[in-house]
């Protein structure tokens, strides 16, 4: 185990185009004859549609296509449950449901035409209170839920889209016998991903084949989605992602590519959709879910956690998408990185007429961690123990067994805790309006299939062809360094062909912090395959034994005879060298998870990443305004392959976590409509509010890790930040803030 000290130099291959403004994002592309797409959104958040008449829109000069449900195949779609239509047919279920799309020569005409579409509705009761939606007699958001195709293990029932439990021992008996029992209820507001690039999609048909340029994090899922909703083969759909202006989960899953492809087909022209910031807030099917979280934990006087009971209700919003796993993921975060003797956690993912929630950076984790870590601090107070000391005594370590029965191998949970506490100067004298809070969390790796090719050009340079998606983190941009290391070449010798579904094998895309873990593994495997080919060719050429050959500095030479050598360029000039990967994701650890329901595979955490954050805040007691002054972030993410890239994830993730803690929250009205779908009142952290952040990487040798012992990096940095901020606030004001975000008003109310 070692702490990484020195940054390693890394200049991103896409850097020059990004700093000179010559790089092209989707909205920057212009195709000859392209039309502008605008959507007609529903006028109600829950209603039956009784009539759609688009004749006036179709008659408007400059309109080349109006598309409704009648113009596309009558199919449902959705990642884990197929519960959604491209264009609403008989029912609308949230503010962003699309009834029709228009393609016109100008944005003004398209907007005007969209407004001319006549729609009659029969309003239905609007389900906004997702906790109440659990009741047996609640209005059903999807009366046909039983008819939907979906993942079997979700445990769907009425408005409950997913139900998951973690059960171990007899929690009630253990609570009855505990020295101390602490209870708490926490509520979180929904949050948006807010990539700075609003999404854009362009579709162009050539014959029966459509090319879609889109700002997606998951090009292969987008391709599959377009093929499904238009009922055409995937081979007829090519998805290309130009530079992607951030995602944070908000651009995961398939969605608007289908609408634009349908419009382009109907208009017989290329069609471009560019979202306004307002649409980027309310219309997307990806936001962080609101939750209700209840905890009851019993401990012995020495801190031993004898019982944890939890009840979680998660607002899924109107549709499932890929987010069906949230109930189990939230349950695992309610377990948290702690040793627990008896457990009963139940977690329900519930349909409502609110905007659909789906993966946003570490889905479910920041909210549950925020609640759990406050709860742990409250337990520490009840036990009269220092909160850090309580965590020292109860946090998981190598060899710990989770409540689902997973044996944890080689983890550095406690080491990250000690490091964060050391970096922040825990225990120091502080002004009376300042305090330090600490929180810990965990997050799994996701092993999945990927593939890659590495080919050599005749001049000895090469091209890496990967299905991976670069969303800014640098995980794709770092691939030339891995390949160059295998081949004795320089990173700048390689170009990248990526973000094009016609080029590379299938890939999960930029989600789940798994690009290096899976796509990086594939790229390295392809490089190794190519290396073997080069060594074979060099052995022939040099008439030397394979075992005597050394690949370095752009040449293959015979060990001990430096004059016997051949350059890679010379080898490449005579052949068609290309390496490809074999797709072998590492196996995950098993967990019996006896008695647990809603098992989707998350009952064991593959190569878990461990995180400890310590933050120092200043609270203005008069106003409730909180400033985060300093953050110490210690992470076990296995071996760090690209320090600048990894640090960048922590800087950005922590600042996102601070936003979630203090200022970012979607406010919905009584009908589930956004009240602050703009950046004036949905407040991101600015440069002047971002604190100084110290980072430490605790490098462990994790079994079943990714390439070179790496784990994921991108999502964990925003997991425990809000919890640490909350614990610091509570120390200053002497009270708990039970709702996220902890706005000045809420802090002031709690402290008054």
């Amino acid at each position: 185990m070692a702490t990484v000290e020195e940054p390693r130099t890394f200049i991103r291959p896409d850097g020059k185009e990004k700093v000179t403004g010559t790089g092209r994002y989707t909205a920057d592309l212009v195709l000859a004859g392209e039309l502008v797409a605008k959507f007609r959104y529903t006028d109600h958040t829950h209603a039956r549609i009784t009539r759609i008449d688009a004749s006036k829109a179709r008659a408007l000069p400059g309109v080349l296509a109006v598309v409704t449900h009648e113009d596309v195949p009558d199919v449902l779609y959705g990642g884990m449950v197929q519960d959604r239509r491209l264009f609403a047919k008989d029912t609308v279920r949230f503010e962003g449901d699309i009834v029709a799309g228009v393609a016109a020569t100008t944005a003004e005409i398209a907007e005007h035409a969209a407004a001319l579409i006549e729609i009659d509705y029969e309003p239905l009761p609007v389900v906004t209170d997702f906790e109440a939606a659990l009741a047996d007699d609640a209005t059903l958001v999807h009366p046909d839920w039983e008819a939907y195709e979906g993942e079997e293990s979700l445990g769907r029932h009425h408005n409950t889209l997913g139900y998951s439990t973690i059960v171990k021992g007899d929690v009630d008996a253990a609570l009855a016998g505990a020295d101390v029992v602490v209870k708490g209820r926490y509520v979180t507001d929904p949050v948006s991903g807010v990539p700075i690039e609003p999404r854009a999609v362009i579709a162009q048909w050539q014959g029966d084949k459509v090319t879609v340029w889109t700002s997606t994090q998951v090009p292969y899922a987008a391709r599959g989605g377009v093929a499904h909703v238009l009922q055409i083969p995937e081979s007829q759909v090519r998805v290309v992602v130009p530079l992607l202006g951030g995602g944070f989960g908000a651009k995961c899953d398939f969605h608007f590519e289908g609408h634009v492809a349908a419009l382009a087909r109907a208009a017989r022209r290329p069609v471009k959709l560019v979202f306004s910031r307002r649409e980027e807030f309310f219309a997307v099917g990806h936001r962080r879910e609101g939750m209700v979280i209840e905890f009851e934990t019993g401990a012995r006087a020495d801190g031993t956690l004898v019982a944890r009971k939890a009840r979680l209700v998660l607002d899924k919003g109107a549709y499932c998408g890929e987010g069906g796993f949230f109930a189990q993921m939230a349950a695992m975060h309610a377990h948290g990185p702690y040793n627990l003797e008896n457990v009963h956690i139940e977690s329900s993912l519930v349909y409502s007429n609110n905007q659909p929630s789906s993966s946003i950076r570490a889905p479910t984790a920041p909210q549950v961690c925020w609640a759990l870590e406050q709860h742990m601090d409250e337990l520490a107070a009840a036990l009269d123990l220092d909160p850090v000391e309580l965590r020292r005594r109860t946090a998981i370590e190598t060899g710990s067994v989770t409540a689902t029965g997973q044996v944890l191998e080689q983890i550095a949970m406690k080491e990250t805790l000690e490091k964060a506490v050391e970096m922040i100067g825990y225990g120091q004298e502080l002004p009376e309006d300042e305090a330090i809070g600490v929180a810990i969390g965990w997050w799994p790796c996701f092993a999945s299939s990927s593939g890659a090719y590495v080919k050599l050009n005749h001049d000895g340079t090469g091209t890496i062809i990967t299905g991976a998606q670069e969303n800014g983190t640098g995980s794709v941009m770092a691939m030339p360094t891995y390949v160059a290391a295998e081949l004795g070449m320089k990173p700048e010798d390689f170009s990248l062909l990526y973000q094009d579904t016609d080029a590379a094998p299938n890939d999960m895309g930029s989600c789940g912090s798994q690009t290096t873990f899976n796509s990086g593994r594939a790229v390295i495997a392809a490089a190794v395959d190519l290396r073997e080919q080069l060594l074979d060719a060099a052995a022939d050429k040099l008439e030397a034994g394979r075992g005597d050959l050394v690949l370095a500095d752009g040449a293959v030479s015979v060990q001990g005879s430096p004059d016997k050598s051949v350059t890679i360029a010379e080898l490449a000039s005579s052949g068609a060298f290309h390496g490809k990967s074999l797709d072998v994701p590492p196996d995950g650890p098993a967990a019996p998870a006896e008695g647990c329901v809603g098992r989707l595979g998350l009952e064991s955490f593959h190569a878990p990443q461990l995180i400890a954050h310590a933050v120092r805040v200043r609270v203005d007691r008069g106003t409730g305004v909180v400033r985060v002054l300093q953050v110490a972030a210690a992470h076990d993410c296995g071996k760090i392959l690209n320090r600048i890239g990894a640090d960048g994830q922590v800087y950005g993730g922590v600042v996102m976590g601070i936003g979630q803690a203090l200022s970012e929250g979607t406010q919905l009205d009584e009908n589930g409509r956004h009240r602050n779908a703009h950046l004036t009142d949905y407040k991101l952290v600015t440069a002047s509010d971002a604190p100084h952040i110290d980072i430490a990487w605790i490098e462990t040798d994790t079994p079943n890790a990714g390439p070179k012992g790496s784990k994921g990096v991108g999502e964990p940095p925003c997991v425990p930040t809000a919890g640490a901020v909350a614990n610091a606030i509570a120390k200053v004001i002497g009270a708990r803030v039970h709702q996220l975000p902890m706005t000045p008003e809420r802090v002031w109310e709690a402290g008054t």
Binding site: V625, H678, K683
Partner: protein, 289 residues
Amino acid sequence: MSVQTFTTAATVDDAVAALAAGSRPVAGGTDIVVGARSGKAAMPAAIVAIHRVAELHGVEVLGDGRLRLGALATHTEIAANDDVRKRFSALSDACAIVGSHATRAQGTIGGNLMNASPAMETGGPLICLGATATLHSASGTREVAIEDLWLGPGQTTALPGELLVSVEIPSPEAGSGSAYLRLEYRRQMEIAVVGASAFVTVHRGNVIQARVAMTALSPTIRRVPGAADALIGTDGGAAAIEAAGAAVAAAATPISDVRGSADYRRAMAAVITRRAIETALSRARQEDA
């Protein structure tokens, strides 16, 4: 929402003629274009750009110590002026925290005042500093006290065809200090949820003159005479400041919206007012000493 005609005025007379013909003036564009883009109000059909009118520029101290701000004086120019910072501190405070550095560089005092937002930063300071606006039209020129400039959110008392050409602030008496403070959730890029301005004159330790104004707490920014009364004749101690803050809270008619509840705003009215007064007093005492 499309603009049909666009002219650029070279002189005040050009501008006034265009206004008489029904054009709306645009200077830095930071309100009018944003308002249209975010759907608050459509772009006017006729626009006269006044940003090239030389007579409307300038931050200038007149011979008797008065400050004259051309309508096109930007927040950046005003905030950077040492004399403004020293003698008209509340205005400097306000100009330094408007929007972003781009808003401050392009946004003008005239545009800010005529946009008539009850949350604008510069209004309260100008009221407290006793400023007047000069309005010019084809039929002549008139002066209006800043506190009489607004009717309600987005509504001014300017007559059709009138252009705000300048703002004048009298020279503060010896021993004066002023301050503007807003409740801000972030350090930058904020719109006042609650704002307070205070101007005080201290003579031999006693407050002999005071004006206090509240921002974002009523349909227009306005003075709270009761708050000033609580200070005048006192030594500016904690009890007087407390009473002044309470007077503002009592006078406030706040709304509840996404930025905060009425109850919170009312409570913050007292807190922010107290802090603005404390800063103004401390500045005044330095002058008095």
